[in-house]
Symmetry: C2
Subunit: 206 residues, 2 copies
């Protein structure tokens, strides 16, 4: 297995879940707590009004992005239409080295890629309270056509089938409670890791 970061380093958390489970909102709330930091993704798409370079995304060119892919510098990436979206490994490892817990919000294929490259990553999966409620939430957003909603529900089936590969699942029944439970889990993992690091250090001195 791989070598793991030494004592005092942050932990990498990866969050997935079907569209409509509220994972974006959960991530936002967790970031607000200040115990975890979002890794800013890189993209080749054009900056939209209101977006901030280095905050919303790191904007880059297709050439540069493809060079990073070829150089094995992307922890994960995906192409939607003509645009690339992804996470440079360097961004994440620098944050971890600075002792920060890092949060990535990505779909299961990207999560599997991250896990294969950084096996110590902790994978979190957000579940809807029921299939009926998931459909209701997708409909209520009012953003998508019936056809798009059907597509999203179909995608949800595949995504849910990947949940057993995650470290932990959380049901988002009540947003506040769910955020609290995820936050507690992040704290638990942080304590667990600190205990382990301490044990390994103690063992070297024995």
């Amino acid at each position: 297995m791989s070598n793991l970061p030494a004592s005092g380093k942050g932990l990498l958390f990866v969050m997935s879940g079907p569209s409509g489970t509220g994972k974006g909102t959960i991530c936002g709330e967790l970031i607000k707590s200040g115990n975890i930091f979002l890794s800013v993704s890189s993209t080749t798409r054009e900056k939209r009004k209101g977006e901030i370079d280095g905050v919303t995304y790191n904007y880059t060119t297709v050439d540069e992005f493809e060079k990073m892919i070829a150089g094995g510098e992307m922890l994960e990436y995906a192409k939607y239409g003509d645009n690339y979206y992804g996470t440079p490994k360097k961004t994440v490892t620098e944050m971890l080295a600075a002792g920060k817990n890092v949060l990535l919000e990505i779909e299961p294929q990207g999560a599997a890629l991250v896990k294969s490259k950084m096996p110590e990553a902790v994978l979190l999966f957000i579940l809807p309270p029921s299939a009926r409620e998931l459909k209701k939430r997708l409909c209520e957003r009012g953003r998508e056509s019936d056809e798009e909603i059907a597509k999203r529900l179909q995608a949800a089936g595949w995504e849910l089938s990947q949940a057993p590969l995650y470290n932990k699942m959380f049901v988002n029944d009540d947003l506040g409670e769910c955020v609290e439970r995820v936050g507690e889990y992040i704290s638990e993992k942080t304590r667990e890791r600190a205990f382990l690091d301490n044990l390994i250090e103690e063992l070297q001195d024995i």
Copy 2:
């Protein structure tokens, strides 16, 4: 990612931890609870007095064992001295298919191999309360020489470095409490999986 077993199947748990953490005793207590079943390992070593074929081990020949390795039929295996020890995949998948939770007690390299072949496996790591306590327990067993204890402590360092790759760590400070916590975790994972299976089924009918 891989296809996962359908609804109603058992879960595979893999337990590791340095020598002296009491994982053998913990496994024994968990099995007694009746909520989880130990997969009987296969071995090529001779049956010792008091051992029972099919209970202690499944005894087999080197020829047969090597045929199973070559056929990709072993979930994990290791060779100690002249003898092979390992887990046939078939034994485990049959128990899971029968709805049983299965427990394997293996070292981290074997655990990583199992995880790569059955990524839905849940990995549990048992930690000693302190390095000092680990050394004390190894000495108190009185089985090993000072040299062997030093070797075990060195091996413990490497094993502990693999703990972040596990789903969850448990500190064995008090045996009864530790068994209870592991048991609760197994129940939690079982409920989590039942909820997910139900959700996936519900989604198909929507």
